[in-house]
């Protein structure tokens, strides 16, 4: 068969998938975000069976398959378990963040699992696994994960 595309550009149809969507945060995340927003406090759920403290908080313990019933305060300080530094301005990076952007997986004191968040006020080359960091809260807080602005090194 002759090449039907010879000498012409194949047709490309430009469009986008853009569908508004609302995620109901649920009662567990709601309580977590309200504490961040109103009290600058980080709270977590605890499993009544194995005693594990979960960050981000969730309703059930995945290991025991039981409902977490207890809430506990965890520290705003913790340890960097691992990290990543974006050098290319990847499309997913929010517009208010310019590379290099650093993310850490941070285990807060008092929690058994770690959360993802930004590391800032530190040069990428100075970030190491095991470093101690502290939460910096945003000036204006709206009840989202970004009510914590970032984590900075503990001096």
């Amino acid at each position: 068969m002759a090449d039907q595309f010879q000498g012409i550009e194949p047709m490309v149809y430009q469009s986008k998938i853009n569908v508004p969507y609302s995620w109901w945060a649920g009662d567990t995340a709601t309580r977590f975000f309200v504490a961040l927003r109103d009290e600058k406090k980080i709270i977590a759920t605890k499993c009544g069976a194995c005693g594990k403290v979960f960050m981000p908080p969730r309703k059930t313990c995945p290991l025991c398959f039981t409902a977490n019933t207890e809430w506990v305060d965890v520290s705003d300080e913790g340890t960097v378990l691992t990290f990543s530094v974006a050098r290319r301005q990847l499309a997913a990076i929010p517009q208010d963040r310019k590379v290099p952007v650093i993310w850490g997986l941070i285990k807060l004191d008092g929690a058994d699992t770690a959360i993802l968040h930004y590391l800032d006020e530190v040069k990428p080359e100075d970030v190491i696994i095991g470093m101690r960091v502290k939460a910096v809260f945003s000036e204006t807080r709206k009840g989202t994960i970004r009510d914590i602005s970032h984590f900075k090194p503990v001096k």
Binding site: I17, W23, T82, S84, R87, L90, A92, T113, I145, R146
Partner: protein, 381 residues
């Protein structure tokens, strides 16, 4: 337990952008190649499983969109969202169900039509994580850092994977990125997310793969030599990174252990002849090999350096060039199965390995290898 075999495979060439083809065009090519390979007609196919992801395809119910081109009309068709190995897992269970004798499984993807950073960002938890703007590359960079910190792995060690796999692709006509490169080329390539350079990352790719799975009662009825499914397992780790040990992969340890047990394999280092695994990033080839028990933890790089995983070495790993040489997401694991099948049949052409009786094909789904599917395939029943 009843047995099943893979009796036909078909792959499109993996390309950066198949701008001339729709999803259905790719499926048509792969399915017809698989039917020809098996010596079957579409009427010989009892049921169809398609594998796709709505976000990657830019539409809902995406797997139904390739049904027509896959010969699914009037047949029982089902869909799997995830890697192609998961679609094939389902296809295998259908072939064993007693209801069907032959299952056609397809997997398709076109990374070229979307922005992969946004698609993979959307796999993070929308309430607690997504707004932070991580994606597959920055997530895997985190895993790479944890793994390097634990094992002392160096960037140069990871780079050797890229050199080997792009080199292997020179002999694979289906591969997208055959390249003759050096460790220094990898280290000097753009740093995308520390420690991952551009050449530590698999490319954006388009492609479709199809395999035909048959119950033992019909596995030798058609012209092709059956490749037998000896062991198969799929295991999943926790969703949140902070619940896992990112420097390890418990899900893969479990999946491999289960698959070896089912296959009756006692010493995988001795009994496995060839591996096609999910090297979306260089470090993953090493980590996955270790967690599959094919190298001691933290020691795969030494074996790689010694040439153990070369195409002519004692355990060839990704002789096709792997995902680093072409990564059609979703289809990628199915390509691994098809590649191992070709190797075990002796049909791999220029990238054929010497001894190939028993092989592993491996698929991954989720960020940083949250879940793993391990196939033990054998040329003998």
């Amino acid at each position: 337990m009843d047995r099943a075999a893979i009796i036909g495979v078909g792959m499109t060439k993996i390309e950066k952008s198949k701008v001339r083809e729709t999803f259905a065009d790719m499926a048509w090519e792969a399915v017809n190649k698989a039917l020809a390979d098996a010596g079957m007609s579409i009427d010989d196919i009892d049921n169809v499983v398609t594998t796709s992801s709505d976000f990657w395809d830019g539409r809902t119910i995406s797997c139904m969109a390739v049904g027509d081109a896959s010969g699914a009309a009037d047949k029982n068709t089902s869909c799997v969202e995830g890697d192609g190995t998961y679609g094939a897992f389902y296809g295998y269970t259908r072939a064993l169900s007693g209801s069907y004798k032959t299952t056609l499984v397809t997997g398709h993807s076109k990374g070229s039509q979307c922005i992969s950073s946004l698609i993979t960002n959307a796999s993070f938890d929308p309430i607690c994580e997504r707004g932070l703007g991580m994606d597959m590359i920055t997530a895997c960079a985190m895993q790479a850092n944890a793994y390097m910190n634990r094992t002392g792995l160096r960037p140069e060690d990871m780079a050797m994977v890229s050199v080997k796999n792009h080199g292997n692709a020179l002999k694979n006509p289906m591969a997208q990125l055959p390249m003759n490169i050096t460790v220094s080329d990898v280290i000097k390539s753009e740093m995308i997310a520390d420690p991952l350079h551009k050449l530590d990352c698999s490319p954006v790719s388009d492609g479709c793969c199809a395999v035909i799975i048959a119950h033992e009662s019909v596995a030798t009825k058609f012209k092709q030599k059956p490749v037998w499914i000896r062991g198969l397992s799929l295991c999943t780790d926790s969703f949140f990174f902070g619940d896992r040990d990112l420097a390890r992969s418990n899900a893969l340890v479990e999946a491999a252990k289960n698959a070896y047990k089912m296959a009756g394999i006692k010493d995988p280092k001795k009994e496995i002849d060839i591996v096609e695994l999910y090297d979306a990033f260089t470090y993953q080839e090493l980590l996955w090999l270790e967690e599959m028990g094919l190298a001691d933890y933290g020691k795969a790089a030494k074996l790689l350096e010694a040439g153990e995983f070369n195409i002519n070495g004692p355990l060839p790993v990704n002789p096709s060039g792997g995902l680093l040489s072409g990564h059609p997401v979703i289809a990628a694991g199915l390509y691994r199965i098809a590649e191992v099948v070709m190797q075990l049949r002796g049909d791999a052409g220029e990238h054929q390995v010497k001894k190939a009786k028993t092989g592993i094909a491996h698929g991954v789904n989720g960020l940083c290898g949250q879940s793993h599917c391990v196939w033990i395939l054998d040329k003998e029943r």
